[in-house]
């Protein structure tokens, strides 16, 4: 397993509903990122299709693995990189049951997926109308260490990041489609999740305007001490490379020993109180 490597935050806007064009864009960004030495390239939430698709999601969703993940696998093999991107997933066992999913692909092919657990259905968001929530947080074993995936609104719920950290992930990858009015929330929470878990956190947000919603970009790589290692521009497409060195975790984990001090008994209390909210 590598201790240090470069990660690329591929902050793109999407061609709405045009998977072919978006896969082409993924390849273009992977190629550019690879030239700059990146071994992991991360794209935003639902970057295969765009975020606001409403009823068109039913026609665009695919099984995983499926045609689109196979196309992205080819890109990963060709450039020898890991790729994370988002797509609407069609359940293997049903015909119109969808998930908002993050996919992890490596140089040797498909590795795993994460189905978004917290689906925002408030304000301008209507995800529960279309998606079924996921039930499993997982960290995936790779040459770049264990990688954990979360999606956008999940970051408001520290338990998801905590779970994948406890699974062994030292890099939490959060793919996102966040509109501009929520920028300060994410700028705060991304740093918080990194610090409280003594882990690296890569946040990659969408840009562009979909149905009047302006996605703010501002993708960032954060170190285990909360330091912002790399940031992408606001509001426009960008490709930013940041370097991860897992050796940085050890001194921080000793300096702010949040993992050592975790109190298991509180989680039972949390469960009990949450059920009675």
């Amino acid at each position: 397993m590598k201790q240090n490597f470069k990660v690329a935050l591929a902050q793109i806007s999407c061609h709405k509903g045009d998977k072919k064009a978006n896969i082409q864009k993924i390849e273009d960004y992977v190629e550019r990122a690879r030239r700059q030495g990146a071994e992991l390239v991360i794209f935003p939430e639902l970057s295969l299709t765009g975020y606001i698709l409403r009823d068109e999601l039913y026609g665009l969703a695919e099984k995983i693995p499926g045609q689109s993940t196979i196309a992205v696998e080819k890109i990963a093999r060709k450039y020898g990189t890991y790729i994370v991107f988002g797509m609407p997933e069609l359940s293997e066992k049903a015909q119109a049951t969808l998930y908002n999913t993050a996919v992890l692909i490596g140089p040797k092919g498909y590795i795993g997926k994460y189905r978004k657990m917290h689906l925002p259905t408030h304000s301008v968001f209507e995800e529960k109308r279309y998606f079924r929530q996921g039930y499993q947080a997982e960290a995936f074993e790779t040459e770049l260490g264990k990688l954990g995936l979360i999606i956008c609104y999940d970051i408001f719920f520290p338990e998801v990041s905590r779970l994948i950290r406890l699974e062994g992930a030292q890099l939490i990858i959060c793919i996102s489609a966040s509109p501009a009015v929520r920028r300060t929330f994410f700028e705060t929470l991304t740093v918080a999740r990194a610090i409280e878990n003594a882990s690296f956190l890569a946040y990659v947000n969408l840009v562009g305007i979909e149905d009047g919603l302006q996605f703010w970009g501002g993708s960032r790589l954060i170190g285990p001490n909360g330091k912002v290692i790399a940031t992408a521009k606001y509001d426009e497409e960008d490709l930013v490379i940041g370097e991860i060195d897992y050796a940085e975790i050890r001194p921080i984990e000793a300096f702010v020993p949040t993992l050592r001090d975790l109190r298991a008994e509180l989680f039972d209390k949390l469960k009990e109180k949450t059920e009675k909210l």
Binding site: K16, G17, I52, L53, R54, D55, E56, A180, V181, T184, G208, I209, E210, D211, G212, Q214, D235
Partner: protein, 289 residues
């Protein structure tokens, strides 16, 4: 930007401060939005009505900043009854300052011809007659839009849209309405920020449907107060709380709230009744392209 979550205490404090935004950021967002929409729709530019008032001047200025004044056409559409040379002068002032092309068309002959063909036309009914003027202006805007492949940019603000102070299928008719999420007093601040001349920003707003009409007199409340009431309603505040904080009679706040609620029919596509699987206006949900 003010953030309701960051405000301490049980209820929002309704002061003029809550209406303050980062105007440079707002300008950037609106110009991005306009540019993006024009590009995606593959239109050649924008056409809008230029009345010389603060809303249309601001919409025109932002359009020019977004796509260049040479791609923005401002139609001045005066008519005899409400004609005021000052308004035309103000429209010209804005057009000149932001490099917008203009065309002036007197709509009086069209209006009079139309009135003659309506058997029940009542010249004394100033509201019906006024609405006719607002709707006739839309015909001109959409003719130019069709003919020259332009987007019609509306200039409705949030205050007027919320209380339904506009003509149904009239002045509100447009392809995009970039100011619709800004209250009137916020439009004024944005206007000042982007350099719309003070003489326009500071004059009393009027829909110009009949002579001497001013919005605040007709609505019966100053925009400074109305905007705070509407802001409170937007943030789920109770009418008692709003009235209490602003030192107003509860009845007045209730009246504004009722007006906001009953005007929903002016803000949506026409209601139908559900008969089939997916229905326009209910659950036929498609994104804009």
């Amino acid at each position: 930007m003010p953030n309701p979550i960051s405000i301490k205490g049980r209820t929002l404090k309704l002061t003029q401060n809550v209406l303050n935004l980062n105007w440079e950021e707002v300008k950037t967002k609106i110009t991005h939005f306009i540019r993006d929409y024009v590009e995606k729709s593959k239109a050649k530019g924008i056409v809008l009505g230029l009345s010389g008032g603060v809303d249309s001047s601001t919409a025109a200025a932002l359009s020019a900043m977004a796509i260049g004044g040479n791609k923005v056409l401002g139609l001045m559409l005066p008519e005899r009854e409400t004609y005021n040379p000052k308004d035309v002068k103000h429209a010209e002032l804005v057009a000149e300052k932001f490099g917008i092309k203009t065309e002036k068309i007197d709509i009086t002959p069209a209006l009079e011809a139309l009135e003659k063909t309506i058997p029940v036309f009542d010249p004394e009914d100033k509201l019906c007659k006024g609405n006719l003027k607002a709707r006739i202006r839309v015909l001109y805007l959409y003719y130019y839009a069709n003919k020259l492949n332009l987007i019609v940019c509306g200039s409705s603000d949030k205050s007027e849209t919320m209380i339904g102070y506009f003509t149904k299928w009239g002045d509100v008719a447009a392809d995009i309405s970039p100011l619709m999420d800004l209250y009137k007093t916020q439009v004024r601040k944005l206007a000042k920020h982007i350099g719309v001349p003070d003489v326009i920003v500071e004059k009393p707003p009027s829909p110009m449907l009949w002579p001497g009409q001013t919005a605040e007199e007709e609505i019966g409340i100053k925009y400074e107060t109305l905007d705070l009431i509407l802001y409170g309603l937007e943030h789920f505040m109770k009418t008692e709380e709003i009235a209490d904080q602003l030192g107003l009679q509860k009845d007045l706040v209730e009246k504004v709230k009722r007006r906001w609620q009953i005007m929903e029919h002016k803000r949506r596509i026409p209601l139908t009744t559900k008969i089939q699987y997916r229905t326009v206006g209910f659950d036929f949900r498609l994104p804009f392209t």
